[in-house]
Symmetry: C2
Subunit: 363 residues, 2 copies
């Protein structure tokens, strides 16, 4: 099988690029001096290859060819081969990865994707809307009340704040039951299809129990931060959950793995159906180009894996809806949390305004 | 209960420090505009507090007081509260954390620690020795042959390379059986106590199966990279494994969480008994001060949690043993992998040399 092509950016003098690239190839495969390896098969089939070196503004870009066999066709070992040891070298960033044909079949990929999520909502040919239940510390009753208003307004997806875990003030089981009931009731009243995505967190046994509760209460989506629960546990849960998964970027790091690679390409490979990312111009510093690259990596045709819904977020406002739709197009879900909650008593009205602006951007 | 005190370094103009600190406090707790929160209890008990701000060379240091209740007393949510969203802000680093009295009882801590590992080896009052089976891609027979030589030389701990996962060329079950058999045989011949630490990897179900195999084959230690398998899965496995755990820093990132905090303090809280870190002057760029701070955080008295064995590694050589012992003292395990393997035919001799230099540093 062809190699996995991993592109790194290395901040080091170009004069050292060959030596640094060879050292990186050893680090990310055999992790020992290559000169001390006598087994021809290991040298030929296992040691990562330096495929190319390209000078850059501050250092150089190197493409390594990593043998698929070294990854054991499994997520934790794939991440190890891509960025295990060299994540500890501050001068190295992982920029992109290309997998050989067929390698993706080792991973689940999105089970629902954009089309699946559209089918579950009333959103046929428009962008989708999303909001969040906050703040943590609120009572279950307060959160259920917020959810009712958001659902009455016709927001497509109501997610838990990713900080709502299984804390004493709103334990998962009680919260999911109450919020889902509030949303289902509002859906019946309006004829709407609002989905609820509770936040899953904790150890593998806790995730399994949360899956049981969420399904029995009728929740139809799930929010998970793969880097917090761990990618292998994320994949294992995805297999048994059979609900669309909204991935959250928390604990994803800022600068060491390129955001389009981690939040879109890899999360897509691992089974996310939608991916939240910090939009430009909000509380985070991703550039517009980075954000558009995330959206592209989430949606572009790739190895037959279903397209993933990009979800720009992080300090967005209803006022920015037209500009965001202009930038991201309709295959997008706009997430506004705090920007609705600040409306206070006018929450329902503000939420309806959000829904209307997304449904009729030119009105 | 008192707050969790989390110290961040923020690269931003000092003139903005108050506003940035308040924004960080909101980001890491309620994740919405604090002004829009009307519930007095949430404002009082949930919103993170800015405890102090201190100017620094390039920006400022801020201590946030995070409410323990928001962490749900569980690892993935603790990491979320400490560094979930702000990991996506490249100007923010997590420097240190102090937990209120009793908070640590929510986590397992080391079950064996330095004393437990000493009891299982012949190393009573000296530093310990460790080496690694490499390279990946080798046959099981080759790895078992290396293990035999290392054990005959009297090395205390033989670990799998952290790149040895469950690949086709040396599947976990066959490898662990063969290597453990080779080490047990050598131990019988020498009267020694060499321990084998196979690398565990993969999804939670795979980890459980590997635990079953390792125990039934008689392996007496385990190597895990918490950031690859996921911290919650690491903790869950620790509870059922009942073997000392050697933590590997792979995928730990270089600069965003201070290494003494992540690799020593947090891994100790989560249950590691020994922690591998890239020593200064090797293939990685940690400073001597950072490395000594890791060793201190691993070993110093802390909340009754057992001291953890620091394991400096990453391009070390037998020639550096005296200097490393001088720097780290006897409650340390020196890990030399490639530095032994480069001896080729003279592997046994070189390994004996390593063992001798550690046992009798002044000989």
């Amino acid at each position: 099988m062809d190699r996995i092509l991993a592109t790194y950016r290395v901040a080091a003098p170009e004069s050292e690029s060959r030596a640094r690239a060879e050292a990186l190839a050893a680090e990310q495969s055999v992790e020992m001096p290559v000169a001390a390896i006598t087994d021809e098969r290991v040298l030929e089939e296992i040691v990562a290859r330096v495929e190319s070196i390209r000078p850059q503004a501050h250092g150089f870009e190197v493409v390594l060819g990593i043998a698929p066999a070294t990854t054991g066709n499994e997520a934790s070992q794939l991440l190890n081969m891509l960025f295990g040891n060299c994540s500890l070298q501050p001068e190295v960033e992982l920029v992109d990865v290309a997998f050989p044909a067929g390698y993706e079949t080792n991973f689940p990929g999105p089970r629902f994707g954009i089309e699946g999520i559209r089918k579950m909502t009333a959103a046929k040919a428009r962008a989708l809307t999303c909001t969040a239940l906050k703040p943590q510390g609120s009572t279950v009753e307060h959160l259920a009340g917020l959810a009712r208003n958001f659902a009455l307004a016709g927001i497509d997806v109501i997610k838990d704040d990713h900080g709502l875990a299984n804390q004493a003030f709103s334990p998962f089981a009680r919260r999911v039951a109450a919020v889902q009931r509030a949303i289902a009731k509002a859906n019946r009243e309006t004829g709407g299809n609002t989905l609820y995505a509770p936040t899953f967190s904790g150890a593998p046994a806790a995730l399994r129990e949360q899956a049981r509760v969420a399904k029995s209460e009728g929740a139809r989506m799930a929010l998970l931060a793969p880097m917090l629960v761990g990618v292998p546990a994320f994949i294992e849960l995805q297999a048994e959950l059979d609900l669309p998964i909204l991935a959250h970027p928390a604990f994803g790091g800022a600068t060491r793995i390129a955001p389009p690679l981690l939040l879109a390409k890899l999360f897509r490979l691992f089974g996310a159906d939608a991916t939240i990312f910090p939009n430009h111009g909000g509380r985070f510093s991703y550039s517009r180009a980075t954000c558009l690259a995330i959206a592209t990596a989430a949606r572009e045709p790739w190895k037959g894996l279903r397209p993933v819904l990009p979800v720009p977020a992080g300090g967005m406002t209803v006022e920015r809806v037209p500009e965001m739709l202009e930038g991201y197009g309709v295959d997008t879900m706009l997430l506004i949390g705090g920007g609705l909650l600040t409306a206070g008593e006018r929450l329902l009205e503000k939420s309806r305004d959000f829904v209307r602006k997304v449904a009729e951007p030119n009105a």
